[in-house]
C-alpha cells in the first residue's frame, strides 16, 4: 500500500509544477519570478508539511487579530461606563473576537497545523491519503476566513449603501436576533459555512490516512497517541460539522427569504436553532481539545523517557469523549425553557464526559512516576496544559449540575470556564506542539531560557485574567456586557491586568519562535530523544515524501527499553 502510494505521489507533490518550474527557470535572472516561484511552491504544494506550515502561519495571523480584539474588550471594561468604544462597536468586537478565535484558530487548530505536519510522519506514510484535497482545505479555509474578515468591514445599510457594519450577536448567532439584526451577519455565516467544508475534508483525509497508510507493523495500538487523538477528532469533524452547516444555511435562507423555521413570528422555533447550533458546537469543543490531549500524551511520555502509563485507557478515552460528546449538547440550554425531563437527561449524560477526561489526567500524572523527567520547555507547556485544563474541566462540572448551572449560565463564570478549556486546553496544547515539534519542522531550536520566561508571563497572566472571570461570574456578572455595575469593577480590573501580562508572554513566545526559525542554532537530529517515527526515521526537517525507505515498526511509539541509535 505505502509504496504504491509513494509512486502515485512522486510526480504530484505540487500541482502546477510545470508552471512553477518554468518560473524558476526564468527566475535565474529575475528576482520577481524567483519570488513568485517560491510563493507558488508553498500555496500550491500538496506536501502535507507545507500545508501544515501554511495553516500555522495564517492561523498565527488570525490569532494575533483575535488577541488584539480581546485586549480591546479588556481595556474597555477596565472601568465601568463607556471608555473609548460605544456599545455597538463593543458588540461587534466581542462577536468578531469569538468568530475569529473559534472558527479560524481553535477549530482548525492542532489538526490543521501539526496534524497535517506530523500525522503521515508518525504513521510512516509519505503523505496523507488525498494530498490535493488536503491543499484544497487550506484554500477553502482562506476563502471562508476572507469572507468572515470581510464582514468586519463591508456591508450595506438599510438604503443599500455600502458602509462599515460589523456583525454582532456573539459567535453563537442566536435567533431571532441574528435574523433581524441589520449588521452584516449573512457574510460572516457564509464564511463559517465554507470553513465547515475545510474542516470536514481534513477529517475525512485523516481518517482514511490512519486506516490505510500506517507503516508495516503498526497496528492501531502501536500508533502514537497523537494519531489516536486525531482519529477521534476527525470523526467529530466529519459527523458534527454538517449539522452546523445546515443550520447556518437555514439562517441565511431565512434572512433572505423569510421561510420561518426559526422566526417565531412566522411559526418557527428559536430554541430549535439553539439545539441545532449546539449539536455541532458542543462536540466542536472536544474537537478543539482532544488533539491537544494527544500532543500532551506524546510530550509527557517523551520527556519522562518512559512508556506512557495506560496507553489503551488514553486512546479509548479519546474515542469515548468524542462519542459521549454528541449527547450532551443541551447542557448549554438549561435555562432555555426546554422541559425539565430534558434538562435532567442532559445533565446526567453530561457528567459522563467528565469520566474519560479524569482518566486521561490520572494516566498522564502516573506516566511521570519513575520516569526520568526532563523539564524542557515543551514539557513545561504540557504540564501547564494538565493544570489549566484540569481547572477548565473541573469548573465545567458546575455547568453540568442543573441548579448550579442555572445560576452561572451566561455569566462571566462561563466565559472563564471556556477560556480555561479552549485557551488553557486547546491553545496551550498548540503552544506545546509548537515547542515540541519545532526542531522537526525547522531543523533549528529556539532559545530555551526565553521560552521559560514567556511561559512564566503567560501562566501568571492567564490565571489572573480568567480566574477573576470565574469569581465575578459567581457573583452574578452577566456576559456580553458593554458596561457593568460598580461592584464588579475590581474583578474587571484584575482581569485586564492579567490580560496585559499574558499578552506580554505571548509576544515574547512569538518572537522567540520566530527568531529560532530564522537564525536559531541547528537542532539535534532527534532533539528530544523521541521514539515515534517522525523522530527515529526521518530527517529534521523531513525530506519531500518523508522517508528514504518505508519504515517498519518494531515495538511501540514510546519504546524506551533500548537506546535510540
Amino acid at each position: 500500500m505505502v509504496s504504491s502510494a509513494k509512486t502515485f505521489y512522486e510526480d504530484k507533490a505540487l500541482i502546477f509544477q510545470g508552471f512553477q518550474e518554468s518560473l524558476e527557470k526564468a527566475g535565474e535572472n529575475n528576482k520577481l519570478y524567483k519570488f513568485l516561484a517560491w510563493v507558488l511552491s508553498w500555496i500550491f504544494s500538496t506536501d502535507h508539511k507545507r500545508v501544515g506550515i501554511l495553516y500555522l502561519i495564517t492561523m498565527a495571523a488570525f490569532f494575533a487579530i483575535g488577541v488584539s480584539l480581546g485586549l480591546l474588550i479588556r481595556f474597555e471594561l477596565f472601568l465601568p461606563g463607556e471608555q473609548f468604544i460605544s456599545a455597538r462597536v463593543y458588540n461587534s468586537v466581542f462577536t468578531m473576537h469569538g468568530v475569529i478565535m473559534i472558527f479560524l484558530v481553535v477549530i482548525p487548530g492542532i489538526p490543521a497545523t501539526f496534524g497535517n505536519f506530523c500525522l503521515p510522519l508518525q504513521l510512516g506514510a509519505p503523505d496523507v491519503s488525498f494530498p490535493k484535497l488536503n491543499l484544497s482545505t487550506w484554500w477553502l479555509f482562506m476563502i471562508g476566513a476572507g469572507l468572515a474578515v470581510l464582514s468586519l468591514f463591508v456591508g450595506t445599510n438599510a438604503n443599500g449603501e455600502l458602509m462599515m457594519v460589523a456583525p454582532d450577536g456573539g459567535w453563537t448567532f442566536y435567533v431571532p436576533y441574528s435574523l433581524e439584526s441589520s449588521a452584516n451577519i449573512s457574510l460572516a455565516l457564509s464564511g463559517a459555512f465554507i470553513l465547515g467544508f475545510s474542516s470536514m475534508f481534513t477529517g475525512m483525509n485523516f481518517i482514511t490516512t490512519i486506516h490505510r497508510m500506517r507503516a508495516k507493523g503498526m497496528g492501531f495500538f502501536q500508533m502514537p497517541l497523537f494519531c489516536w487523538s486525531l482519529y477521534a477528532s476527525s470523526w467529530i469533524q466529519v459527523l458534527a460539522t454538517p449539522v452546523v452547516s445546515i443550520t447556518l444555511l437555514l439562517v441565511i435562507i431565512e434572512r433572505f427569504m423569510g421561510i420561518g423555521i426559526f422566526d417565531p413570528s412566522k411559526g418557527g422555533d428559536p430554541v430549535l436553532y439553539q439545539h441545532m447550533f449546539w449539536i455541532y458546537s458542543h462536540p466542536a469543543v472536544y474537537l478543539m481539545v482532544i488533539p491537544a490531549m494527544g500532543v500532551v500524551s506524546d510530550v509527557i511520555a517523551v520527556f519522562s523517557r518512559r512508556t506512557i502509563f495506560g496507553y489503551k485507557a488514553i486512546a479509548i478515552s479519546s474515542m469515548a469523549i468524542a462519542f459521549v460528546g454528541y449527547f450532551v449538547w443541551a447542557h448549554h440550554m438549561f435555562t432555555s425553557g426546554m422541559t425539565e425531563t430534558a434538562q435532567i437527561v442532559f445533565s446526567f449524560l453530561t457528567f459522563f464526559v467528565a469520566i474519560p477526561t479524569a482518566i486521561k489526567t490520572f494516566n498522564w500524572i502516573a506516566t511521570l512516576y519513575k520516569g526520568s523527567i526532563h523539564l524542557s520547555v515543551p514539557m513545561v507547556w504540557a504540564l501547564t496544559f494538565v493544570f489549566l485544563f484540569s481547572i477548565g474541566g473541573l469548573t465545567g462540572l458546575l455547568n453540568g449540575a442543573i441548579n448550579a448551572d442555572i445560576h452561572v449560565h451566561d455569566t462571566y463564570y462561563v466565559v472563564g470556564h471556556f477560556h480555561y478549556t479552549m485557551f488553557g486546553g486547546g491553545m496551550v496544547g498548540l503552544f506545546c506542539a509548537c515547542h515540541y515539534w519545532f526542531p522537526k519542522v525547522t531543523g533549528k531550536i529556539y532559545n530555551e531560557s526565553v521560552g521559560y520566561l514567556a511561559w512564566a508571563f503567560f501562566f501568571v497572566g492567564f490565571n489572573t485574567l480568567y480566574g477573576s472571570m470565574l469569581v465575578m461570574g459567581l457573583l452574578g456578572m452577566p456576559r456580553r456586557y458593554h458596561d457593568y455595575l460598580p461592584q464588579f469593577t475590581i474583578w474587571h480590573q484584575l482581569s485586564t491586568i492579567g490580560a496585559v501580562i499574558m499578552v506580554t508572554g505571548l509576544i515574547i513566545m512569538f518572537i522567540n519562535l520566530l527568531k529560532g526559525w530564522i537564525n536559531g542554532p541547528k537542532a539535534n537530529e532527534n532533539h528530544w530523544d523521541g521514539r515515534s517515527l517522525e523522530w527515529t526515521h526521518s530527517a529534521s526537517p523531513p525530506i519531500l515524501l518523508n522517508f528514504d525507505k518505508d519504515p517498519e515498526v518494531q515495538g511501540g511509539p514510546y519504546d524506551y527499553d533500548g537506546e535510540w541509535k
Partner: protein, 322 residues
C-alpha cells in the same frame, strides 16, 4: 431614591433554591479544589523526585488495571453525586397553590411587570454612577411563592436575579415560566443575560422584597387615576421617553432610529417610497405598530413597547415639545 442592591454571597438564603444551589456549588467546589491540589501536588512531587538528574533511567510501567478501575469508579461516583445534588431546582410542578403570578414582558431594552390586579409599579432611577435609567422596580412580598409568566416582544432575553439563583430565557411568542420564594427583605439586582443588542447591559432593574403587610397595603391601594395635563403630562412623557433614548436622540443626532428633535411637522420619506407629514396619528401608529411604516434609511427593528393610554398620551405630549 437610589438604593444599592444586595449582591451575591454564599448561603445568603434569600431563596430556598438558592441554598440548594450553594450546596451543590460548595460540594463541587470542594471536590474540585481537592483534586486540583492533589493532582498538582503529585505532579510537582514526581517532577522533583524523578527528575532526570536524580533518576537517569526511567522505568517502563505499561499500566495497571486495578488502578485504572479505581480512578474510573471514584470519579463516576462523585459526578453522580453532583448530578443528584443538581436536581434540587424549582420545578414548575411544585409551584405552590397560593403563588402570586406576575406577567413579565421583556423588550429591547427594558422589563415590564403586570400584577393580576393590574397594579402599577412606580419607575425609579436605577443603575450606577455612570448611567441611570428609569425602570419599574418589581415589588414582591416576602415568604410567598412568586411565579413569573414571561414573554418577549422581540428577541430572546433572559431574566436573571443572581441573589435568588434563578434565571430563565424569555422567548418571543413562546411563554416560559419560573418560580421562587424570597425569604429575605431587601433589594436585589435583576439582569438580562441573553445578548439582545446595543443596550443589553442596561436592561437592568431591581427587585424589592417587602414584608407581606407592606405589600398588601401597597397592592390594595387603588392607583390614583388622576388626570395629568399640561406640564405634568409632559414631565411624565419625558420619563416614559427615557426608555427610547437607546435608539432615538433629542438633539437631532442619528442613532438606530430617527431623532425626536423636530419630529412633529417634518416630512419623512418612508421606506415604502411615499413621503408623509409627521402628525399625531402617524406617531401613535408608529409606536403601536412600530414596523408598519418605517422611515427610509432605518432598519425595521423597533420593538413594541408596552405602554398604557396615559403613558402614550404623555409621550406624545412630550414629543410635541421637542
Amino acid at each position: 431614591m437610589d438604593v444599592k442592591a444586595i449582591g451575591v454571597s454564599l448561603f445568603q438564603g434569600v431563596t430556598d433554591v438558592g441554598n440548594s444551589v450553594d450546596f451543590t456549588f460548595l460540594f463541587i467546589f470542594i471536590v474540585c479544589v481537592f483534586f486540583l491540589i492533589a493532582n498538582t501536588a503529585v505532579m510537582v512531587y514526581f517532577c522533583w523526585k524523578f527528575h532526570h538528574k536524580k533518576n537517569p533511567v526511567g522505568t517502563n510501567i505499561e499500566g495497571n488495571t486495578t488502578i485504572e478501575v479505581i480512578w474510573t469508579v471514584i470519579p463516576t461516583i462523585l459526578v453522580m453525586m453532583m448530578f443528584y445534588y443538581g436536581l434540587a431546582f424549582n420545578q414548575m410542578a411544585d409551584l405552590p397553590k397560593d403563588a402570586l403570578t406576575i406577567k413579565v414582558k421583556a423588550y429591547k431594552w427594558a422589563w415590564a411587570f403586570e400584577y393580576p390586579n393590574k397594579k402599577k409599579l412606580e419607575k425609579e432611577a436605577v443603575g450606577s454612577k455612570e448611567w441611570k435609567i428609569r425602570m419599574p422596580v418589581l415589588k414582591i412580598p416576602v415568604g410567598r411563592a412568586i411565579e413569573f409568566e414571561m414573554e418577549s416582544s422581540d428577541v430572546v432575553h433572559s431574566l436573571y436575579i443572581p441573589a435568588f439563583r434563578v434565571k430563565r430565557d424569555v422567548l418571543p411568542l413562546i411563554k416560559t415560566a419560573l418560580w421562587f420564594k424570597a425569604n429575605k427583605i431587601g433589594r436585589y439586582d435583576l439582569f438580562c443575560t441573553e445578548y439582545c443588542g446595543d443596550a443589553h447591559s442596561r436592561m437592568y432593574t431591581q427587585v424589592e422584597v417587602v414584608s407581606q403587610e407592606e405589600f398588601e397595603k401597597w397592592y390594595n391601594t387603588k392607583d390614583e387615576g388622576q388626570e395629568l395635563t399640561g406640564d405634568a403630562l409632559v414631565k411624565k412623557g419625558s420619563e416614559v421617553a427615557s426608555t427610547c433614548m437607546a435608539c432615538h436622540s433629542t438633539d437631532g443626532s442619528r442613532k438606530v432610529g430617527p431623532s425626536f428633535k423636530g419630529l412633529f411637522g417634518r416630512t419623512s420619506e418612508l421606506a415604502s417610497g411615499s413621503s408623509h407629514k409627521v402628525d399625531e396619528a402617524y406617531v401613535r401608529k408608529s409606536i403601536l405598530e412600530p414596523n408598519s411604516d418605517v422611515v427610509k434609511g432605518y432598519p425595521p427593528i423597533m420593538t413594541k413597547v408596552p405602554l398604557d393610554k396615559q403613558e402614550l398620551d404623555a409621550l406624545i405630549a412630550y414629543l410635541k415639545t421637542l
